[in-house]
């Protein structure tokens, strides 16, 4: 089991460009989560899917951010027209179930996004 795989590990974009981040969850896990981590804000919840269906995107900035999970083996987070304030480490996590004590998050190593 390779764990949660995130690609790329590092991404540098120019202001206004698009960034797509990829996540491959652990096989058999029903829930996939996206978090953003910065020094100032810490770990912030963005969105999550259960069995590929979007459940809660309350943490997503309404403009420019979107997430999809087209199949059970990967999810993407897309940021359009990136801004310097989008610079952060984006973490993907999966869990066996999305409630109770089985809601243990297994995180990937993250994608460090730098917007110049």
């Amino acid at each position: 089991n390779a764990g949660v795989i995130q690609t790329p590990r590092h991404k540098v974009t120019g202001k206004g460009q698009e960034a797509t981040l990829w996540c491959e969850p652990i096989s058999g896990h029903s829930a996939v989560f996206w978090y953003r981590q910065t020094i100032v804000q810490g770990l912030e919840f963005l969105t999550y899917f259960r069995n590929q269906a979007p459940i809660d995107d309350s943490g997503m900035p309404k403009e420019r951010f979107s997430a999809q999970m087209p199949n059970q083996s990967h999810s993407t987070l897309k940021i359009q027209s990136t801004q310097p304030q989008d610079s952060a480490v984006y973490l993907c996590a999966s869990s066996l179930r999305d409630w109770g004590v089985q809601n243990t998050l297994y995180f990937g190593a993250g994608t460090r996004l730098s917007v110049l």
Binding site: F33, F45, D98, W99, L105
Partner: protein
């Protein structure tokens, strides 16, 4: 909304010492997770304590939970250099299934 917050943000101790990190939260939680994050890696669960438990042990780790004061603590006995990491508490809630809310974290440095 629910949140978790560690009271101390940075700790530096010598190898062999014991250390305790605290976490307080504002709303009911069914379980408190403690994660550690090593440099360049994502957080990883190290211990989990349920709302009906007051104490949980795992090796040199001890977590406590006081639901009346809505606080939890993580203690490490005889810390070692490899315990150097950032430690987070995370709480779930009954209102929003799935989402864990993480505290700001405590950076622990253990030196030889």
């Amino acid at each position: 909304s629910q949140w978790g917050e560690e009271n101390l943000q940075a700790l530096s101790i010598q190898e062999g010492e014991d250390v305790t990190m605290n976490c307080s939260y504002k709303t009911y939680t069914t379980v408190v997770h403690w994660y550690r994050q090593d440099s360049g890696r994502g957080p990883a669960l190290i211990i989990l304590i349920r709302s009906n438990e007051r104490e949980k042990r795992s090796g040199r780790l001890r977590a406590t939970l006081d639901t009346s004061s809505q606080s939890s603590s993580l203690s490490i006995t005889a810390a070692q250099c490899e315990d150097t990491a950032v430690y987070f508490c995370a709480t779930d809630g009954t209102q929003v299934v799935g989402q864990l809310t993480f505290g700001r974290g405590t950076r622990l440095q253990v030196y030889a």
